[in-house]
């Protein structure tokens, strides 16, 4: 059995579940609907097959996640990914971080922000705008949530509009959800 990955990486990882995934051939109609099974979509990940144990939640969370992370207007994609990374660092979801650090680097065509966060976690020193976004998302992700009026004022000072701030709140919050699934129902392993 491959050892689990516990360090930060942007490598593509696999995910090994701690509970038995739903078997596609045994899926109920409700599970098949939530899994969006179509002839073109036969390859479904173990992660999604684990979540299919609760098809009602899966049915609504998948489009919710996509609407929050890939909305057309408002906060840019990199800003949303940085919100996701802030939450994932607080909750130490190594798999989530790998995926969204990769997305952040692709969206921004940079690697320095992710490298600094990997090295220093919540003590990372970032360019002003990125610092304000990362600090807000990591504080909002704390238990209990600890973002303050000053953190919101800093976002405004760095040029985030109220709508963009709302988008950051949403991307941070949805990762409070995603981290609690991915990090607790299984673990990352090297791909292949």
């Amino acid at each position: 059995m491959k050892p689990a990955v516990h360090h930060y990486t942007t490598d593509v990882l696999d995910w090994r579940p701690f509970v038995t995934p739903v078997k596609l051939e045994e899926a109920t109609p409700a599970q098949r609907e939530a899994l969006k099974i179509t002839p073109a979509n036969k390859k479904i990940s173990d992660y999604v097959l684990v979540l299919a144990h609760d098809p009602e939640s899966l049915l609504h969370r998948s489009p919710l996640f996509n609407a929050i992370m890939y909305g057309r207007d408002g906060l840019d994609h990199g800003g949303r990914e940085l919100g996701a990374i802030g939450s994932s660092i607080v909750n130490r979801c190594v798999y989530c971080i790998a995926v969204h650090a990769r997305h952040y680097n692709q969206a921004t065509k940079t690697t320095a922000v992710v490298e600094e966060i990997f090295a220093k976690e919540l003590d990372a020193t970032l360019p002003d705008r990125e610092q304000s976004i990362f600090d807000f998302s990591s504080k909002l992700s704390a238990f209990p949530p600890a973002a303050s009026a000053d953190d919101v004022a800093r976002l405004r000072d760095k040029g985030l509009t109220p709508l963009e701030t709302l988008d950051l709140i949403l991307s941070t919050a949805i990762f409070g959800w995603a981290n609690r699934l991915m990090h607790t129902l299984g673990e990352p392993i090297p791909a292949g």
């Binding site: 701690f18 509970v19 038995t20 409700a30 684990v50 979540l51 144990h53 609760d54 009602e56 939640s57 049915l59 609504h60 969370r61 489009p63 919710l64 609407a67 929050i68 909305g71 607080v90 909750n91 130490r92 909002l140 992700s141 238990f143 209990p144 949530p145 973002a147 303050s148 009026a149 953190d151 919101v152 004022a153 405004r156 109220p162 709508l163 701030t165 709302l166 988008d167 709140i169 949403l170 941070t172 919050a173 949805i174 409070g176 959800w177 995603a178 981290n179 609690r180 699934l181 990090h183 607790t184 129902l185 673990e187």
Partner: protein, 163 residues
Amino acid sequence: MTMDLIASLAGLAADSPVRALLARREDIMDLTEKSRQAVLTPADPGGLSHTVRALIAVRAAERLGDPVLRDHYFDQFSHGEGAYDLADLVDPARRPDDPWLGAVFDHADRLTRQPRTARQSDIETLQRAGVSDADIVRLAELAAFLGYQARLISGLRLMEAAQ
């Protein structure tokens, strides 16, 4: 309007500009409400009754120190079937005698407070207590939704205060 619950929990004024922003994210608010129903009052609750789900939400809100959220879920819990027999457990410091429910509450508490510490052994503890894999996933979705909702509300309150 499905965003009314979130706006109310966040304490947004009737004429708050934050409400206008939420209206621009109506699809997200609509899916948030459908998700709430899916984890709190699902058609197929499995081993986690609607009353137990509301009770887990009360305990999480208490841990989060959020009296508005706590009162909202307490109201839902107290109207639930069998709530009377579980009423002592609204205090998150109390642990049920029943091993199945005890394991479920311990895990819910971990997911609320320190999900970063979760290990495979926590899932094995649940399995040994007789909690099915499907109920483990249902519990994770519930606790995780509560984490989402609490942070959405917390963020909206900050925006409202900044107006």
